[in-house]
Each structure stands twice: as structure tokens, then as C-alpha cells.
């Protein structure tokens, strides 16, 4: 079960787990029962002061401190969990009057409860109080693995201008066909005797002569895909002879996801394939062997959101037949002919993708970050540095724009070295550093080329490269701001435009910084980063490679799974990159993007191929939480899993905290009455009071998705009984919300401040790799307000987060101005003036 939690929690002691926790989400009728029991006992007395001395603090010390500690820190063997949490003051007051003191419920009610709750809330309970008491600090971090890879790619890309140019709108590959003009061959005489070898040889010489004189046929075109079965014919049976011809395809492939791509080339003829690295063939199958179609498979690791050059050559000579198919398997896809939308006729320069394996980044706080170093990590940085140095060495003429032996060679290599180090360090280097990093290397190395290698190794091993936000002494300058923007938005280095802005002192005011951030949003790197966030936000790791019981769901194969992923990402992209970029649409859309295969499975019929918007009854589909990819991921192989769904919804969508389960309970289907619905089974399983503390929240949310089976299809029956998706659920604010299904749930979440906070919080820590409260106790709230004002514009939020991160350590007014400036419309302001924390019951 622990895998369903995003973050680890301290283990509760026996005592604590048996006691109901204020800080948690413990709610419900069970509590009243236990309170009633205890009130039968002899009432305890408290020596409480009267009048103005009867302060919240005084009440706390008399009635609460013996179990909770004088500062709410907890007391071993009594209640050892520190008292802090996310309840509102109102909710906390209610809770105290209903349940406290534990052994004398009813002793602290009315004014007393109000006062003590206010004291507790302000002194240590609320997140703000916690932030004040324990201000979190910025953790110096090295780059994560993903950041390292993009950074190196962009660092070397700087020497290959245009390497990252997004391909044009044309799709498909450029093709050049070449062959011999068709001759009218004499009709073969079936009675002709077999030619003897010597005669054959003589005939061949004749052939060769004729061939030289035979006119060629050539033509160019763009092919949408490479899948051709010429059989015994030529590509142009009217004009081109069938026995001998060749084709060359050029262009680039568009890789959406980061990961290993497998290229599969099928042909019985001669083929050669190069991807990204045009100097070294990925597949060399130029020599054919016999009439059988051969299948060549090679894998390449590629960074997502980028394009890579591809070149494919084909030739046929005397083989009986000819065919070629170029397929791939993307990181989470299935084997398919490379589709037209992933091919472009434009060629690009090489992108350097580091192959070195790094140890996995620390995820112990719930997101990948670089706050630790290890021997293995250091070793990986060494291997990667060597890998890059070897690449630089092998391409030095190209990268430095010089030739060995020319008079300006040394100067050019020094220029290269400076540019490389400055790129890697994200700022110009001082004269002193120039001496260390460059001059010195050229002095000690036997040749200038070895010096360059040393510069590369030294630079890539330097903390200035590995720790992008390493303090440079003093206040952050324009280069620091540029580096932080690039890190938050791109996981990479500042580009030339940013560096120029820094050099010209044009990264100082909020407007200047914001203008850069908005510009950067349009770069494909931001799209790639936002993809990464969605993967993290929706815990898509769970969906990768899942399999369903083939008896129950015979249609749900790897192809469907791959299609669903595409469908989800296309939906997310459409919403985020639309004008409104509205977070609420993510949660509330009543449509899915489906292709014919998915449409059929999910009960719709559509015309044409490809993915298209398919509208549903608003009750039946409600945004990402009802996307079949997620619903299938948060389900077991045969059945739904309301607990997995509920925990995800609670934490990530509704934004409430959960404590870890006090005991591990496995769901064993066989133990239940075979006639029960899943809801009935879960209700039975979690009926224990200790469980209901959290399951009082988890279950209603999870049950609201019971209308979707284990592959996310709409259903109205479970185990031959009607599905019941109706429940009441209690919010952190102490309100009860009536949910009749997914639509109510997402409406609640989309309008609820704690849901917004959860989204902002997760987006922030994913983008910046630091917790949001590092940037100030009010930062989350400030972001939430501006998110609301912007009409929940996701892109704006992305850029504002980057601005907050970029301006850390700047003088307060500038930083604040930077973080808060938005262009709200008046109506949005008016809306915001209303308390946003009390959603109405539905």
C-alpha cells in the first residue's frame, strides 16, 4: 500500500495511531461514539483562570499541553505527533469542541474552544505558523539527471546554431528515387536453354556496357511514411526498370517523449540508417542475404520534445523483390510504422545526448531533486564528462570552426574553450578563472587539442557547472536570474537571448524578467518540461506497461495503452497551449480525444482517423480524472480500486493531506462475499474507526469514480448490482459536500482553494526542485491568488513560478513586484474578494 503515497511520513507510535489525530483528517460518527463513552466517566477538573486571564494559551496549558506538549510538539506515549495541519480555524474549533480533551469531551466548548483553537492555530498549527517557526531553507542542489542531459545537449548545441530549430509544418520525409530507364525487354523465351556460366559472365560484361549507356530515371518527392512493398516492380513501373534502383530518404524525426527509441528496419534489400549522429550508421545492412526480409533493430536514447536528423538509404540489385519498412517503438508506445506527424523533411544538426547512466535522483521528498551527492553520482559525472570530451574531440574542427595546422588554430581553440566554459557556467568568466580554466590547461597540455579536452573535463566536473545556482557571492545578478529562469522553465541553460539580456543589464526589473519568461514559454523546451510535470502530477508512471486481465478486458492491449497515453497528452497539450490555458478545463472537460480504435472501445463511433475531440454526456466524462488512462492506472487488473483512486484524488486533486495508514491492510478479493460490489467490499474493509479517520475522505472520493471500470469505461452495474457513486464527504473546512459522481467531484476540486494550492505546490516543486515555502511563508498563497486572478491560467502560473524562483534573494520590493504583478481583469478581482475557502455544498 505504501506505494500509493507520494511522500513518506514518520511512523506513528501505537499510542498515536490508536488516538485520533487532530492534524489528520479524522472525522466521523465513530468519534462521537467514543466521546460519549468517555463522558460517562468521572469528569476531570481543570484549574482554569477566569476573566481576561482565560486566554487561549492558558486554556491550552491546562487542558491540552499534558498530551500535546507545551508547544504542540507532542508527548511521547501520549500523543506524540506534533500538532500541525491544514484545517481551517473554523474546522479546528469544531473539532476541539466535539472531541477534546480526549478523556473529557465537552469540557472545552464555546468560547473556550474558540480561544484555544485560535491560539493553537496561530502559534503552531497552521502552515503559516509552521513556516514561521521552521522557515525552510533553500537547498543547494546539483542538476538532476534530466537537467544534466538537456543542459549538455544545449551547451554543445550552442556550437551548432539551428540544431534545435523546430521543424517546419511539412510532414513526411524527403525522398530521392534513382534507377535506370525501362527498356522494352525482349519477351523471355520459356524454351530457352539455361545459359552456361561462361556465357553468363560474357553476357554480364555486355550488360555492364549497356548499363553505362542506359539513361537514368530520377525523381524527388515527399513520402508521408516509409513503408513500401514494391514487390517485383520499381517505384515507377511506367518508367523505371525493376531490377536495379535506389532510394534515399532524408529529414528528421520528432521525438515527443524522453527515453529509448527502438528503430526497426525491414527489407530484403540493401539498407542503411543513421539517426541524429550522421557520421555513424545506426543500421548497416547494405549487403542483403537471400530473399528473406531481414529485420534490423537498434535503440537510441533521445530527449523528448526535440527533433533529430534521419537518413535512410535503400538499394535493390537483382533481388527478386523489393520492400522497405521503417518502424519504431517509442518509449511508451508500440511498434508502428513511424507516423507521418513524427517525420519532417527538414534536416537538423546533431544533438548530443549523453549516454552515461546516472544513479537515480533522490525522490524521498516526493519529487526528483539534486540535494545529495554520492560516489556513484560523482563517477557518473566523470564518465559523462569523458563522453562529452570525446565528442568534442571527434568534432573539434566543426565545433571550433578551425582546422588543425592552420595558423589561427590555437586562438580558435581558446575561443572555443572560453565559450564552452562560459556556457557551462552560465556567465562570463573572470580573468582569474580564465587563467585557471583555460590558459593553464593550454600551458600544461602537450598540444592545444589536449588542452581543449582538459578544459571540457575540468569544466564539466566543476561545481560551477554541476550546481547551477551556486552562489557567486553578493546579490543575484542578471546571469543568476537568467540561469534560474532557464532551469525552471527548460531544465537547461540560458539561451543566447537571455545571456545577452543579462549582459546588457536587462534582467533587472519585473517587466524585463517577465518578458523573458513569457518569451521562453514559447520554446519547445517549456513544452517538454510541462509534459514532465503532467507525468509527475498524474503519476503516469503507474500507467506505463500496465496489463489488464485478458479475460475481462480482451481489447485492452499494448496498442490501446499507447493510444490512451497519446490521447491524454494531446488533451493536456491542447488545454495548456490554448489561449485560456485554463486549469479548470483540465478537470472539467466533457470530452476526450479519441482515435477510431479508442472510440470503439469507449462506446463512440467516429469518422476518419487520427485523434479527434469526442463529446460525452457531462455526467460521464469530467476531465483528466475520468480519462481512461488514469482510471486504468488507478485500478487493479480486473477491478476498480477506489482506494487508489481516492488517495490520488484526496492528495493531488482535492489537495488534502493524509497520514499514512496506521496498519497495513491488504485487499483480498477472495475474502469477501462474492455478491458484494467493490464499494461494499471497501466499506467493509475500512469500517474500523482507525481506518475511517482517513478513509472517511478517501472512500467517498474514490467511490465517486465507481462508474468507471478497471479500464475506464462507463458502467452502471458492478457485480450485477447498480453502481452507487453517491456519497458525502467532509472538507478540511468542516463542510460536508454531497457528491453524486465524477462531475460533482471535479466541480468541487476546480473551485476549491486547497485543490488549487495542491496543483501550484506540485507544479512549483517539479519546476524549481525546491519546496515553495522556501521562497517565503506567503508565496503559495500569493501564487494562488494570482492564479485565481488570471482565470486559472496554467501558462501564466508556469511563468510566475519561474519568476518567483528567479528573483530569490533580490531586494524585497523588486522580488515582490516581480512575483505579484499580473494583469487581472476587474471581474476576476471582484471574484477574488470573496472568501475563496468556503465552497458551498453541492
Amino acid at each position: 500500500m505504501s506505494s500509493i503515497y507520494r511522500t513518506p511520513f514518520q511512523r506513528l507510535t501505537r499510542r498515536a495511531s490508536a488516538t485520533l489525530a487532530l492534524g489528520g483528517l479524522i472525522i466521523g460518527g465513530a468519534l462521537t461514539g467514543s466521546a460519549a463513552e468517555s463522558s460517562d466517566k468521572k469528569p476531570k477538573t481543570y484549574d482554569l483562570p477566569t476573566g481576561s486571564d482565560r486566554t487561549g494559551m492558558a486554556i491550552y496549558q491546562k487542558m491540552c499541553a499534558s498530551c500535546h506538549g507545551d508547544k504542540g510538539q507532542g508527548v511521547p506515549d501520549e500523543y506524540d505527533e506534533p500538532l500541525h495541519g491544514n484545517r481551517s480555524l473554523v474546522s479546528l474549533t469544531k473539532r476541539i469542541s466535539k472531541t477534546m480533551p480526549d478523556d473529557n469531551v465537552g469540557a472545552c466548548v464555546g468560547d473556550d474552544a474558540t480561544k484555544v483553537a485560535a491560539y493553537i492555530y496561530e502559534t503552531f498549527y497552521s502552515p503559516q505558523a509552521q513556516a514561521r517557526l521552521h522557515p525552510p531553507e533553500f537547498d543547494l542542489s546539483r542538476m538532476t539527471i534530466a537537467q544534466y542531459r538537456t543542459t549538455v545537449a544545449d551547451l554543445l548545441g550552442r556550437f551548432r546554431p539551428g540544431f534545435d530549430r523546430p521543424p517546419g509544418t511539412a510532414r513526411g520525409l524527403k525522398a530521392h528515387y534513382s534507377g535506370l530507364q525501362l527498356e522494352k525487354p525482349p519477351e523471355p523465351d520459356p524454351n530457352q536453354p539455361e545459359v552456361k556460366p561462361e556465357e553468363k559472365a560474357a553476357a554480364k560484361k555486355d550488360d555492364d556496357k549497356k548499363k553505362k549507356d542506359r539513361p537514368k530515371v530520377q525523381f524527388d518527392r515527399v513520402d508521408p511514411q516509409v513503408t513500401f512493398h514494391f514487390d517485383t516492380h520499381s517505384p515507377d513501373p511506367e518508367k523505371m526498370a525493376p531490377d536495379e534502383f535506389s532510394v534515399r530518404w532524408d529529414g528528421s524525426i520528432i521525438a515527443e517523449e524522453t527515453g529509448t527509441y527502438e528503430f526497426i528496419l525491414k527489407s530484403e534489400n540493401g539498407v542503411r540508417l543513421a539517426v541524429n549522429d550522421m557520421k555513424n550508421l545506426l543500421v548497416d545492412a547494405w549487403v542483403s542475404s537471400g530473399p528473406d526480409v531481414r529485420e534490423e533493430k537498434r535503440s537510441v536514447f533521445l530527449l523528448g520534445g526535440r527533433s533529430y536528423s534521419i537518413s535512410l538509404e535503400f538499394f535493390k540489385f537483382k533481388d527478386k523483390t523489393a520492400s522497405i519498412e521503417l518502424q519504431w517503438k517509442t518509449p511508451h508506445g508500440v511498434v508502428e510504422t513511424i507516423p507521418q506527424q513524427c517525420l519532417s523533411p527538414d534536416r537538423l544538426r546533431e544533438t548530443v545526448v549523453v549516454k552515461t547512466n546516472f544513479p537515480a535522483d533522490d525522490r524521498s521528498v516526493g519529487y526528483e531533486r539534486g540535494t545529495g551527492v554520492s560516489k556513484e553520482w560523482d563517477g557518473a559525472t566523470t564518465d559523462a564528462a569523458i563522453e562529452v570530451a570525446e565528442h568534442v574531440d571527434a568534432h573539434l574542427d566543426e565545433l571550433s570552426g578551425s582546422k588543425s595546422g592552420t595558423p589561427d588554430r590555437v586562438d580558435k581553440l581558446k575561443q572555443f574553450s572560453r565559450k564552452f566554459a562560459e556556457g557551462a557556467f552560465r556567465r562570463p568568466i573572470s580573468d582569474e578563472d580564465y587563467k585557471h580554466f583555460i590558459e593553464h590547461q593550454f600551458e600544461v597540455a602537450k598540444t592545444p587539442e589536449i588542452a581543449v579536452k582538459r578544459v571540457v573535463l575540468y569544466t564539466l566536473k566543476s561545481p560551477r557547472f554541476l550546481y547551477p545556482e551556486i552562489p557567486n557571492g553578493g546579490q543575484p545578478d542578471g546571469y543568476d536570474i537568467a540561469a534560474r529562469l532557464a532551469l525552471s522553465l527548460w531544465d537547461s541553460l540560458p539561451d543566447v537571448t537571455l545571456l545577452r539580456a543579462a549582459a546588457e543589464n536587462k534582467l533587472q526589473t519585473h517587466d524585463q524578467i517577465a518578458a523573458q519568461a513569457y518569451r521562453m514559454l514559447g520554446d519547445p523546451r517549456t513544452k517538454a518540461k510541462v509534459h514532465g510535470f503532467f507525468h509527475y502530477w498524474l503519476e503516469l508512471e503507474r500507467a506505463e506497461g500496465i496489463q489488464k486481465d485478458p479475460k475481462s478486458f480482451p481489447e485492452f492491449d499494448a496498442q490501446v495503452l499507447a493510444d490512451l497515453r497519446t490521447s491524454l497528452f494531446e488533451f493536456l497539450d491542447q488545454v495548456v497551449w490554448s489561449d485560456k490555458s485554463d486549469y479548470r478545463e483540465l478537470l472539467q472537460a466533457n470530452y476526450l480525444l479519441l482515435n477510431p480504435r479508442l472510440a470503439k472501445l469507449y462506446g463512440k463511433s467516429i469518422e476518419g482517423d487520427g485523434f479527434q475531440r469526442v463529446d460525452f454526456d457531462a455526467k460521464q466524462r469530467a476531465g483528466v480524472v475520468t480519462h481512461p488512462y488514469l482510471l486504468a492506472a488507478f485500478a487493479s487488473s480486473k477491478q476498480t480500486s477506489p482506494i487508489h483512486r481516492g488517495v490520488f484524488l484526496t492528495r493531488t486533486i482535492v489537495g488534502m493531506t493524509l497520514k499514512p495508514p496506521p496498519m497495513a491492510v491488504a485487499f483480498e478479493d477472495a475474502k469477501f462475499d462474492a455478491h458484494l460490489t467493490m464499494r461494499e467490499k471497501i466499506t467493509e474493509l475500512t469500517k474500523n474507526t482507525n481506518c475511517m479517520g482517513c478513509h472517511g475522505t478517501i472512500n467517498p472520493l474514490g467511490f465517486s469514480l465507481e462508474n468507471y471500470d478497471a479500464i475506464g469505461r462507463w458502467r452502471t452495474q458492478d457485480n450485477n448490482k447498480p453502481v452507487n457513486a453517491v456519497s458525502d464527504f467532509a472538507t478540511d473546512e468542516g463542510d460536508t459536500v454531497h457528491l453524486t459522481g465524477a462531475r460533482d467531484l471535479v466541480k468541487f476540486a476546480a473551485e476549491n482553494a486547497s485543490g488549487h494550492r495542491a496543483f501550484i505546490h506540485l507544479l512549483f516543486q517539479y519546476s524549481v526542485k525546491q519546496a515553495v515555502n522556501v521562497y517565503g511563508p506567503d508565496e503559495l498563497e500569493d501564487l494562488r491568488q494570482s492564479f485565481t486572478k488570471s482565470g486559472f491560467n496554467i501558462r501564466k502560473l508556469v511563468s510566475e513560478i519561474a519568476i518567483v524562483a528567479a528573483t530569490r534573494g533580490l531586494p524585497e520590493p523588486e522580488a515582490k513586484a516581480a512575483a505579484q504583478k499580473t494583469e487581472p481583469s476587474t471581474t476576476q478581482v471582484a471574484q477574488e474578494a470573496k472568501p475563496a475557502t468556503a465552497p458551498k455544498p453541492l
Binding site: 543547494l140 534489400n269 542475404s289 540535494t371 554520492s374 602537450k446 560551477r464
Partner: protein, 439 residues
């Protein structure tokens, strides 16, 4: 390719032993503690046929009188076995050059394919494993004879293209094994990233210093992480120093001339570099099986270092009475013999790790060719000169056999390497009579 870089790089190839710990995990690098008895084999190939009259000794038996082409091998006359009468009887698809090359070590027919030569039907790759790979697999299957690489394929001036004229070694049907003809690349393969590691070791001091400089500007909290980083770097450095004291390879890495461009005219130097690496890899027991392939079948090397401007293959087509061409071909083939002599010399100068004689005493070198004679394109009587020592091989003589299929020669070679269960090799019909006796 950036020649200069490689040049500068390799100038520093006296890689310090500080880099050695990086290799600690690699088997056989330092050699076993108590060297076992080792038997090795090298197949050396040169292309385009020979000149029989100036190659084959006139006399059969122990009174070996070397003809002009073999003169450079004079010092190894006692260690030589010349085998006349070996035929490549493989027919089927492909021209003589293709079959001469790609059936040379496989002794089996080519697969049909799309590659057309100067006659016959188009063909593809070899249809089965080559003898070097067969023996490699045999040795690698046994713990006692397993080495890091199992086999190494050296090339000299092999053009950068893959077709049946450029490949003689096959891991199996359709699986050509490319020779490495770049000594720097081979060096990289043998000694890993030692050269880069060495560079790294030399910047470690700088890195440490930089870490300290940067660290000085940090708050105590941030410093903690960097201090940890410094410790890792310092430990690495100490490990290197510690290992420096007690790590020694059986044989030091060879010193390669760092300034050789990979061009035709530098072939003589490249050849020697490859031979040095080959001997070194054998002495460090990285492999016991190697091939050394000069150029390729139909190769057009222009041996200007011998004063020859024309391409080798074109010359080999000239009739015997073209005295100019004949003289040049003699020079060319004599040059190959000289390279073989250098290889034999290097092995004979290197003591066998077990202490029993030299490495040549435990190595068989087989020098062969894809054609018997260039201008006739015959696969009959292909050159076969064996130098070295192995149990059951009697040297210092010339043998004349009666049209023996070369399948049986390879079986004999396998037997000397301990692979004596090999009953047939390549095309089974041609194996009648079993392994040749070389005793």
C-alpha cells in the same frame, strides 16, 4: 576525423599507472597470478593472390630454401611450415574474390544477396561461422581459457565499407565481424578510457581546488554538500595513489607513435602499430585468438612507400610476362612477408609468461590470401605459411599436399587450440579425411 587530436592525444599514451584502478574490474588485464599454459593463434591475411613461382619453395621436406617473397622470414625458417596444395573448393554465388575472402575462414558457401562482383551471381554474406570465431567460442566456453575479448580483429588499411570483399571473420551466418583498422580505436578498446582517465586524473587537482574556491563563498549549510563532494574527489585521488603502489600489468601498454594519420601512405607505420598492439594484447592475455587483415580482397593499396604508384589489384591482373608489374607484385608480397616477420619477431622477443620460452613458441600464425594467383583468380593452392609453435605441429619444412580442401586446414588449426572435438567445419562434404596432419 580530426587527425591532430588523436595525434596529440596519443602523444601522452604513456598512461600513468594512476589510471590503472579504473581497469581493476576487467578480467585478464593484469594476467593471472600463476600463468597457465596458453596456446594462441593469429590469422594474417593479405589480398589479391601471390606469385607462385617466387613464393612456394621448390623442395618439399626439411631442407627449406625460401623464395624471394619469403626472404624476410629467413630468421624464422626453423619455425616455419609452408603448406602447399590447400584449395578453397567453395563454389556457389559470388565471384572468386568474394568467395576467396568471405569463404576463406568460413569454408562454406555465401548466402544469396544483392552484391555483384566481377562475375557469377550476386551474393550476400557468408553462410556460417569463421574458424577464428569458432575457436574463440570454444575457448570462451571454458573458464580456464576464457579471456576478456576472446578474439580481436585487427585490420590495416581496410576501407570503411562493409561488403563480402572486406570481411573474412563471421560470428555466424550473416554476421560479419568488422576488423578495427584504426590503431587508436584499437588502443581505446584494449585500454578502455585510460587515456581519458589519465587526463581526468591530471585535472583532479584543479577540480579539487575549484571546489574549495567555490566553497569558500558558501553559507555553512550549502557548504556541507560541497564538502561532501570534495571528500568524494579526495577519496578518489587517494584510491588512485594507493593503487599506484601495487598495481602492475604483466606488460606495459605499448607506446604508439601518436602522429600517424590514417592514410594510405602511412600504412607501414599503421601496420607496425597494429602489430605492437596485437602482441601486447596477447601478452596481457586479453585474447588468444586474433586476425590481422591487410586491406581487402580487390584492395587497391598504392604502395608508394615501395615506389609503386599503381593500385595493387590492378597490378595483380597483369599477365605474368609484364615484367614491370611482376616486379612490383613481388615487392608488394615481400613487404607483406616483412610484416609477418616483424610480428614473429615481436612474439619471439617476448617471454612466455609461464616462463617456457617465448610467446612465439606458443602461438601459431597462419598467413593466407584469398586467391592462389592474382591474374587467374584461382582459389586453388591458396598461400598458407604457418609460423610459431604448437603441440603436434612440426616446423622447419615445406609440405606438398594433393588438392586438400581448406576446411581440413582450419580443423587442424582448431585441434592445435584444443578444440579437437571439431569433426567437420564449414561445408561438411569437404571435410572428408578430417583435420590435416601438421606433424
Amino acid at each position: 576525423m580530426s587527425i591532430l587530436n588523436r595525434r596529440q592525444f596519443l602523444r601522452r599514451l604513456g598512461v600513468s599507472s594512476a589510471a590503472l584502478p579504473f581497469l581493476a574490474g576487467l578480467p585478464s588485464l593484469r594476467g593471472a597470478a600463476t600463468p597457465q599454459k596458453r596456446q594462441r593463434m593469429i590469422i594474417m591475411f593479405s589480398p589479391n593472390g601471390t606469385l607462385p613461382a617466387d613464393f612456394w619453395p621448390d623442395q618439399v621436406g626439411d631442407q627449406l630454401v625460401l623464395k624471394p617473397i619469403m626472404e624476410p622470414l629467413e630468421p624464422f625458417k626453423d619455425r616455419m611450415l609452408v603448406v602447399n596444395g590447400v584449395y578453397n573448393k567453395i563454389r556457389g554465388d559470388g565471384d572468386s574474390h568474394m568467395r576467396g575472402m568471405s569463404c576463406l575462414l568460413t569454408a562454406n558457401e555465401l548466402l544469396p544477396g544483392n552484391i555483384r562482383g566481377g562475375g557469377g551471381s550476386p551474393a550476400g554474406w557468408a553462410g556460417s561461422i569463421s574458424i577464428d570465431q569458432e575457436i574463440k567460442n570454444f575457448l570462451q566456453a571454458n573458464e580456464a581459457t576464457r579471456t576478456r575479448f576472446g578474439s580481436l580483429e585487427f585490420g590495416v588499411a581496410v576501407p570503411d565499407r562493409a561488403d563480402p570483399w572486406t570481411r573474412m571473420s563471421y560470428a555466424g551466418a550473416n554476421q560479419p565481424v568488422a576488423p578495427i583498422d584504426n590503431p587508436y580505436q584499437m588502443f581505446g578498446k584494449l585500454y578502455g578510457r585510460m587515456k581519458d582517465r589519465d587526463n581526468l586524473v591530471s585535472v583532479l587537482d584543479d577540480v579539487k581546488e575549484d571546489l574549495t574556491r567555490v566553497s569558500a563563498k558558501l553559507s555553512a549549510r550549502d557548504k556541507a554538500l560541497l564538502d561532501q563532494h570534495v571528500t568524494i574527489v579526495r577519496n578518489l585521488e587517494q584510491e588512485l595513489k594507493h593503487n599506484d603502489a601495487d598495481t602492475k600489468m604483466a606488460h606495459p601498454m605499448p607506446e604508439l607513435d601518436p602522429s600517424v594519420e590514417l592514410v594510405n601512405d602511412n600504412t607501414p607505420q599503421i601496420s607496425r602499430m597494429q602489430i605492437d598492439l596485437l602482441v601486447n594484447s596477447l601478452s596481457n592475455d586479453m585474447t588468444r585468438v586474433a586476425t590481422l587483415q591487410y586491406m581487402r580482397s580487390v584492395g587497391q593499396a598504392q604502395m608508394r612507400w615501395l615506389g609503386i604508384q599503381e593500385g595493387h589489384h590492378s597490378l595483380s591482373h597483369e599477365p605474368d610476362n609484364n615484367q614491370d608489374a611482376y616486379g612490383k607484385l613481388k615487392k608488394i608480397n615481400t613487404w607483406f612477408a616483412g610484416e609477418l616477420a616483424y610480428l614473429a619477431k615481436r612474439l619471439s622477443e617476448t617471454p612466455e609468461p609461464s616462463g617456457e620460452g617465448s610467446m612465439l613458441d606458443h602461438t601459431l600464425i597462419v598467413w593466407t590470401n584469398e586467391l592462389g594467383k592474382g591474374n587467374s583468380h584461382t582459389l586453388d593452392n591458396i598461400p598458407c605459411v604457418i609460423i610459431g609453435g604448437a603441440p603436434g605441429v612440426k616446423t622447419g619444412r615445406s609440405l606438398k599436399l594433393e588438392k586438400v580442401p581448406h576446411n581440413r586446414l582450419w580443423m587442424a588449426l582448431a585441434h592445435t587450440m584444443g578444440h579437437d572435438q571439431l569433426q567437420t567445419f564449414g561445408k561438411a562434404e569437404l571435410c572428408e579425411g578430417g583435420a590435416l596432419s601438421l606433424a
